[in-house]
Amino acid sequence: MTEPGNTHAGESTARAQHAEAAEALLADVLLAVAAVATAPLALGGLWIRGWHGPRRDALIGLLGRWSERSPRRINHSTDPTQLHEGMELAGTIGTGRLVRRAGLLADVEGGLLLLAMAERAGQALLGPLAMALDDGRMGLVVLDESLADEQGLLPAVGERLALVIDLRDEAGLWPVSLDLDTLPAAQRWAARIAGARGQWPQVRLDRDALAEILKACAALGIDSMRAPLLAANLARVSAALHGRESVEVDDLGLAIRLCLLPRARQMPVSSNEEAQADNTQTEETPSEEPPPEPWPAPEAQDPAQAAPPEPPPVVPAEAPQEAVPPESEPTDETDKPIPDGASERLIEAALAGLPPGVLALLAGSIAAQAGRGQGVSGAGLLGAKGRGRGRPVGSVRRAPRSGERLHLLATIRASVPFQPLRRQQAAALAATGLQGAGGDGAGPAGQQRIHLRPDDLHVHREKRRRGNTTVFVVDASGSMALQRLSEAKGAVEVLLAECYVRRDRVALVSFRGKGADLLLTPTRSLVAARRSLTALPGGGGSPVASGLEMAARVIAQVRRAGDSTTLVVLTDGRANLTRAGQPGRQQAGEEARQVARQLAALADQRLLIDTSVRPDPAARTLAQALQGTYLPMPFAQARAIGEVVGRAVAPPRR
């Protein structure tokens, strides 16, 4: 992040840089919208992250004006059965003749579907959409309002969308007052999209350019083979929009920024080693010829310069990048449009050009992925949402709503007593020649065997197996002697095995030193849980309140997804750091109890295991604030503790 100096001059340059970054971002965003309007099927679509607001609305407006057909909007509550063609039940019963409705997918065939509140959409809706994307039936624009630490869009869908626009850091964006339509760039794209639609498939993308895309994927740790394909298509669409016949460096840069960077699993540190490992031509060559043709990188760095003027602004601390990107310029290919090693410079340029806030988000999401044990998805959570997903138990009288199943027997049973009456009515209506419930679709009125009315309808009541998520909060501070910490770990491991049997999900929060870490977002992967537990270090202060606060956030999310929650806190209760990171036992303890009281209302079951050698009053009062079970663990064996706890936290059988 660019830290401006204290001087006035420093501030103004910072502001200028900021404005420049916002401008660059806007240029990318406009091109992204133009690209998806040009080739929705080849690009899969556009993933817009960020909250509702005038900027997002403006982009959606542009999309509507630029697309061949304006996008069809649906949201998370759309009934998945509407996607495919079918019978309209209420209409069919009401009129007595078959009423069909067209499927949404057939409706948008070849165009764009816009899914709002995508982070709340369940598998029932997203599964078929992902499949439709695979079939190239439509392009998808998703509006994802998830928070940074929340499970967002189902990864299976995100994976299939080429373009990602991140509007979450509002400070780094263009001014709201800006009228996008008046921008020269916007006008240029508006004029060119129609032409680009026919041209982009002819745009050449040569092997070198493709190799750069693949190298960028390798450097960013992107394994999926969909990403390079989408990036390649994006580069070609971008070239077509610029009126070029073949892909050039700018197009590659754009593809890296908009398609690859958001999928990054690592910052480009290992690229050098990897390049050397599998590509002999990247050996350090003493002579550094400038590229035959200078290709100004978008951020106006001198592309021939091997080392960037300053290290890339955000590099994960554990992986410092100090090596100069190896330059290799084979002399025999003088008129190559894409200089070798372009991807590395392009990634650097892309990183340098991003506004600082976005970089923080990006780094955060990479860390989150690492914490999830190689990208454990939130799909499990999402799966719990939506109707029509449980075991049927009985019926209830109402017309089927989204995803509900009609309970036929109950429906017909409800109508049976009225059959003679309705038959008479129908006959009377037919006799008077009025259009009646008999309906011509079903033949003469008298032949309709069952006369149903919409208010006969019953639907299946479904009981969903509520999943349980156990959130562990492990105190790893210095006051937990190392011995105790490993015993606590042992207890958690035993509990994990219990969770496996119950098919619970587990999440793991630890606190030590300055704050709390979410080591593991809710997952069913026990292996991941165990791995992060084993790696948990100890020592430092004891910010109990921060740990509990983090747990509260996780629990709130789990509850939103409809799961019940069990909270297990392992601590000696000796809080000595406040949430703000200030030392002070008194206040730290008070804060901890305060958060604990909130948790008492949030978590369905609460348990505190006192890990101090002698039972500690601090831990007991904390358990009281939690209104939970208090279990001292003096010199206990892990397994013994595990059994006690297992009994204590077992969810009540229903």
């Binding site: 390798a218 199943r405 992967s525």
Partner: protein, 367 residues
């Protein structure tokens, strides 16, 4: 869910996923091997490979319009295609497989005259959010409401009969849907006893599931339904990745000519599969290898005899595909991890890679 009218990427043009290809081919040569479980990350070409299967398989004969794609000589007698007079009126008294015999015999006689048609082997996608009705089939509301007829609307299990049922991200599938599959996958038929329906229809399919085990575990009962489990990794070699992308691009740019250029290879593969199916009953497994195979399973501690049986079947199918008259040691070594890696009794907290465990013992025992 509509019929895939779009061109499908050809199986023969897949690059760099040998283990997955072999696993799928084993299942095509001998469907009795059981299902194929594909373990790996997104974007590694799992779906592409599975969907490409239909085109390399020889077409199957059935009656025109039969939603279950019955074998003409053994039709279930459920639909109007084979029993024109029957309006699929369900008979509650006995399962179709038994009570249908006399009726089916009559139907078979009637349909003998009817021309059969060749249709592609079905490869059916089961989306994650599918409802029970969609999978099992349900009362046809449309007919009920408009014609007052009680008739059965076949679901995905009917459509997958004699073909493949593919579930991407199977580890995220809801438990109650998994239960439906487990039963059908074992019995080869789908039983519907609800809403006044009482129907049994053939549903013999090869279950193909894919998913990333890191994102959730599969229930052991479901794991057991898979004959082979293959691991798929994204190619790390840049040249190989280039090749993947270039081919895919070429295909997307001009599917027709890409398909045309692959047709010879596809045809060769098709013939190989047909030949392998013919040769399969004659492929022998020597006593010596059988002993080693049992030893391997014993040492790995697989449950019961399932490990042995499925490894034997898979090895014979692989040998048949490779034109071996006797299963060779190499083939057995190659197939062993696929057939066994998901059958190890597993401590949920044990981090050790089961593939590594199998590989170690394969080196030790199969020499």
């Amino acid at each position: 869910m509509t019929a895939r009218s779009r061109p499908v990427y050809p199986f023969s043009a897949l690059v760099g996923q040998e283990e997955m290809q072999l696993g799928l081919l084993i299942a095509t040569v001998d469907p009795l091997v059981g299902g194929v479980l594909i373990l790996g990350d997104r974007g590694t070409g799992k779906s592409t490979a599975v969907r490409a299967l239909a085109a390399v398989l020889p077409q199957i004969d059935t009656l025109p319009g039969c939603p279950y794609r019955c074998v003409p000589s053994a039709c279930a007698g459920l639909c109007a295609a084979c029993v024109p007079a029957v309006d699929a009126q369900p008979r509650p008294e006995a399962p179709a497989s038994r009570r249908g015999r006399s009726r089916a015999a009559g139907a078979a006689a009637r349909v003998a005259a009817t021309a059969t048609v060749s249709v592609p082997v079905p490869v059916v996608d089961l989306p994650l959010g599918a409802t029970e009705d969609r999978i099992l089939g349900a009362l046809d509301l449309e007919k009920l409401m408009t014609l007052g007829q009680k008739s059965f609307e076949p679901g995905l299990l009917a459509r997958a009969n004699r073909g493949f049922l593919y579930i991407d991200e199977i580890n995220l599938l809801e438990d109650h849907l998994v239960d439906l599959l487990i039963d059908s996958a074992a019995s080869g038929e789908n039983r519907i006893e609800r809403e006044g329906l009482s129907i049994v229809h053939p549903s013999r399919f090869v279950l193909v599931g894919s998913g990333n085990p890191e994102e959730g575990e599969l229930r052991p009962q479901l794991l057991d339904r898979f004959g082979v489990a293959v691991e798929v990794r994204t190619p790390k070699d840049i040249d190989l990745r280039m090749e993947v992308v270039l081919r895919r691009e070429a295909f997307e740019r001009d599917p027709q000519s890409f398909l045309a250029s692959e047709e010879a290879a596809q045809q060769a593969l098709r013939e190989r599969i047909v030949a392998a199916r013919r040769a399969l009953p004659k492929v022998a497994l020597s006593q010596e290898l059988l002993r080693q195979l049992s030893m391997l399973c014993l040492k790995l501690g697989t449950d019961g005899l399932r490990g042995e049986l499925s490894l034997m079947r898979a090895a014979r199918a692989a040998a048949a595909f490779r034109g071996e008259k006797k299963v060779s040691l190499e083939t057995l070594r190659e197939v062993a991890p696929m057939a066994l890696r998901h059958r190890l009794r597993r401590d949920p907290l044990d981090d050790t890679d089961s593939t590594a465990r199998v590989a170690r013992l394969v080196d030790e025992v199969l020499v």
